[in-house]
């Protein structure tokens, strides 16, 4: 099966990779200790079970009889190696910063691993999605081999890694159930139109990121389109940190009610996105609160709220939008601007190129309103989304000690149910305070040729190949 993606992972080494799309390739041959089910709960993967012995200590029981693609045995020592490596200051892995709370990792025996943390690390399970388990001996002793045929424990094995060009994999003998697909070639086709043409010409069986405008055209020639929500929320943040009319919660609520989310989804995103329920993640995220209802589209009430807040004639506000960084980001900013104009708010759109956007984001220099694609995959946990709203976050979006306290509680509630409750409380607070307007979960749009019929997709771009019809 041949798959075309718009961007490839930078390297076989996942510890330096931030991009969500990289999971499309990594998940084929790497595994993590735990996986996530469709509601954000952790389920066994390379670890069969886990317990919290104390708030700062975890014990994992590992899956037996697992072998890496290069023949090395998978065991607790291998996992310890991976933990140590990602946090090694010499290696400087960018994903190492996610594990700074981990203190020591001990291989109690071949199949038992103990992880001790410096402070209670309630989101360890979600964060484990970033620790893809690599074959220790290969990585340490045969780096050249690792660079071309990295060994993992996944259902497929890499036989060729051609930088930014293609990755070739074959079905591997692994603990996963046997795959119906014998070979996969993932090709780098950066241009949207070319990727779609490749699908039409039968050169690839599966194309990632089909442009919304092409969906109907492809369906008309007998190709099928699958859309699946990603663990990435399209959000319009409203900053309360620098002084602006947004400091008043009534104003923020007015903005939320003046934006027609469903209209945006139908008009700009082809109707294929799942609307967010007034919180930064969907039902696939741990911490999702099914009882929260999004604010309705109610421009009349919005105007009333603005009057109550003392700005009956609206006001001017700056809005930074990224361009081409998130699906339809610029178009959404224009739609939002015209919708807010109806209630008297004059939005001044300032588009930012990707590099400048990131610069301003991390130095707290964004305009009072800005768009962001809050990514909570592959963790499938709302921790990341909450962290953006804390006072100490470099984005400096919000400075509310009450929220900081609620967030703090989510990081220290170790029992699953207690943590879920704490997170739902935090979500509810964000909703009540209208920290942001939560639009929709960004959809992955995939084009499938005949051979790929039956493929489904997880919220982290990775493929599920169990239900292939052939």
């Amino acid at each position: 099966m041949t798959v075309a993606v718009g961007a490839m992972p930078n390297a076989p080494d996942p510890d330096n990779e931030q991009s969500l799309l990289a999971n499309a390739v990594y998940n084929l041959f790497y595994d993590t200790l735990v996986a996530k089910d469709p509601t954000g709960n952790s389920v066994p993967s390379l670890a069969l079970s886990w317990t919290n012995d104390s708030p700062t200590s975890w014990t994992f029981k590992l899956r037996p009889n697992v072998v890496f693609h290069d023949g090395e045995p998978f065991n607790a020592q291998a996992v310890k190696y991976n933990f140590d490596r990602i946090r090694d200051p010499v290696v400087k892995a960018s994903n190492g910063t996610r594990f700074t709370q981990v203190d020591t990792v001990t291989a109690v025996d071949d199949l038992t691993l103990r992880v001790d943390t410096k402070t209670p690390f309630a989101n360890l399970l979600g964060t484990l999605a970033w620790l893809r388990i690599k074959a220790p001996k290969q990585l340490a002793e045969r780096p050249v081999e690792f660079a071309s045929t990295p060994a993992g424990t996944g259902p497929f094995q890499v036989t060729e890694w051609s930088q930014n060009n293609r990755v070739v994999l074959k079905a591997a003998a692994s603990w996963h159930p046997a795959s119906k697909v014998a070979n996969i070639v993932v090709r780098h086709v950066p241009d949207d139109a070319t990727r779609v043409a490749s699908l039409q010409a039968g050169e690839v069986d599966l194309a990632y990121a089909v442009p919304i405008e092409q969906i109907d055209a492809l369906k008309n020639v007998g190709l099928s389109i699958v859309t699946a929500p990603l663990g990435q929320s399209m959000v319009i943040e409203m900053r309360t940190v620098p002084d602006s009319p947004l400091k008043d919660v009534r104003v923020r609520k007015a903005i939320a009610e003046a934006i027609d989310i469903e209209g945006i989804i139908d008009g700009l995103v082809g109707g294929v996105a799942r609307k967010l329920d007034g919180q930064p993640g969907g039902p696939d995220a741990f911490g999702y609160d099914p009882s929260i209802k999004p604010y309705p589209y109610d421009p009349k009430d919005a105007k009333a709220l603005l009057a109550q807040a003392g700005v009956p004639n609206g006001f001017s506000i700056d809005y930074n939008t990224s361009v081409g960084r998130y699906l339809k980001d610029k178009e959404i900013s224009e739609a939002v601007a015209s919708q807010l104009a109806e209630v008297g708010i004059r939005v001044n759109i300032q588009p930012l190129e990707s590099g400048v956007y990131l610069d301003r984001l991390f130095s707290g220099k964004m305009a009072p309103m800005f768009d962001i694609g809050l990514t909570y995959a592959p963790d499938m946990d709302l921790d990341n989304a909450f962290r953006v709203e804390t006072t100490s976050n470099p984005v400096q979006q919000w400075a509310d000690p009450q929220f900081d306290e609620l967030y703090q509680q989510t990081t220290q509630a170790m029992a699953i149910d207690a943590r879920k409750t704490a997170m739902q409380k935090a979500s509810a607070y964000l909703h009540d305070q209208v920290a942001a307007v939560y639009l929709f979960q960004i959809p992955g749009v995939y084009g499938l040729g005949k051979k790929a019929n039956g493929v489904s997709f997880r919220p982290d771009y990775s493929m599920l190949l169990d239900n292939l019809s052939q």
């Binding site: 930088q163 060009n165 070319t194 490749s198 050169e203 590099g355 990131l358 610069d359 976050n393």
Partner: protein, 305 residues
């Protein structure tokens, strides 16, 4: 000749150093790339840590000194994204770009020069009109549009050629034609206007009067005199192809330097941008040097006092 080469080589080194310094300054003035290498939810302390690790917290002059120091050893530093020496990545992509550029140049010259010559021989005729029109259209069509169009026709509809990639020689056809078409138009126009002028010169009339066949006049006398202009355009075209194949390489997923450079710029991968710019500047300078040398060969008047 020896002194000429020495002087030109010295100039080449100077030009390369200037290009690298300019690239260095422009890159760093456009903002620091640290934010591209940290997790979205990194804390301020973590961002600072990474910034320090990558050396971007040092004053510009210190960074420049390190840069020059490493250059002296031929070290272009490691790519920030790919964790391999930047120059290795560029050398790996270079053959693809060279292949594409040279074939595109060949197509451009093989289509353009005869096309322009034919038009020049019959000025004002239907052939001339058609050729001029094609030349105009060829230079006006955006490369990416032509590329997609060719894909839709030859790959999707007719299934004669592959859509993208670089695995077989067939994969080279569409990208080379896309790139070559634009420059073919340029060559055609240049050849036509140059020839029209030359064909009215006295020595051409003399050649005809001597009884030489029209074709001999054309090949042996007329074309030789437009050759210098052709060579100049060929060198400039080659330079443009090296750098400007970016769009074509992206559309056709051709793993060349242009695409590498574009990705590197988008992700602020300084070492990779610097290494790519250096190699492009090197080849542009070499192409110009070759062109200069060829003038001496083509026109015996050059180099004589």
């Amino acid at each position: 000749m020896g002194r000429f080469l020495l002087a030109r080589t010295a100039r080449l080194v100077l030009v390369l150093w200037g290009v690298l310094t300019l690239a260095f300054l422009l890159l760093r003035l456009s903002g620091d790339p640290t934010t591209l290498f940290v997790a979205q939810d990194a804390t301020q302390a973590q961002v600072e840590q990474v910034r320090h690790q990558l050396g971007f917290d040092q004053p510009l002059i210190v960074q420049y000194a390190w840069f020059l120091g490493r250059l002296a050893h031929g070290d272009f530093d490691r790519s920030l994204r790919f964790d391999q020496p930047a120059i290795t990545l560029v050398w790996a992509a270079l053959p693809y770009t060279l292949e594409l550029s040279l074939v595109a140049l060949a197509i451009a010259m093989l289509l353009g020069i005869p096309g322009g010559a034919v038009a020049a021989l019959r000025p004002g005729s239907v052939i001339d009109f058609v050729a001029t029109l094609l030349a105009l259209v060829g230079q006006s069509i955006p490369v990416f549009w032509l590329g997609i169009l060719l894909i839709l026709l030859f790959s999707v509809q007719l299934r004669w050629l592959p859509v993208s990639g670089s695995d077989t020689p067939a994969h080279l056809v569409l990208p080379a034609v896309t790139l070559g078409a634009f420059f073919a138009a340029r060559f055609a126009q240049l050849t036509r206007s140059g020839l029209v002028e030359v064909l009215t010169e006295d020595y051409v009339r003399t050649a005809h009067a001597k009884g030489l066949r029209a074709r001999t006049v054309l090949m042996r006398h007329a074309l030789r005199n437009v050759a210098i202009a052709q060579v100049t355009v060929a060198a400039l075209t080659f330079s443009a192809l090296l750098g400007g194949a970016i769009v074509t390489e992206t559309i056709f997923a051709w793993p060349g330097m242009g695409r590498l450079l574009l990705d590197a710029v988008n992700s602020r991968d300084y070492p990779l941008v610097q290494a790519s710019v250096f190699v492009i500047a090197l080849f542009v300078s070499l192409a110009n040097l070759l062109a200069d040398i060829s003038y001496g060969v083509l026109d015996p008047r050059v180099g004589r006092g």
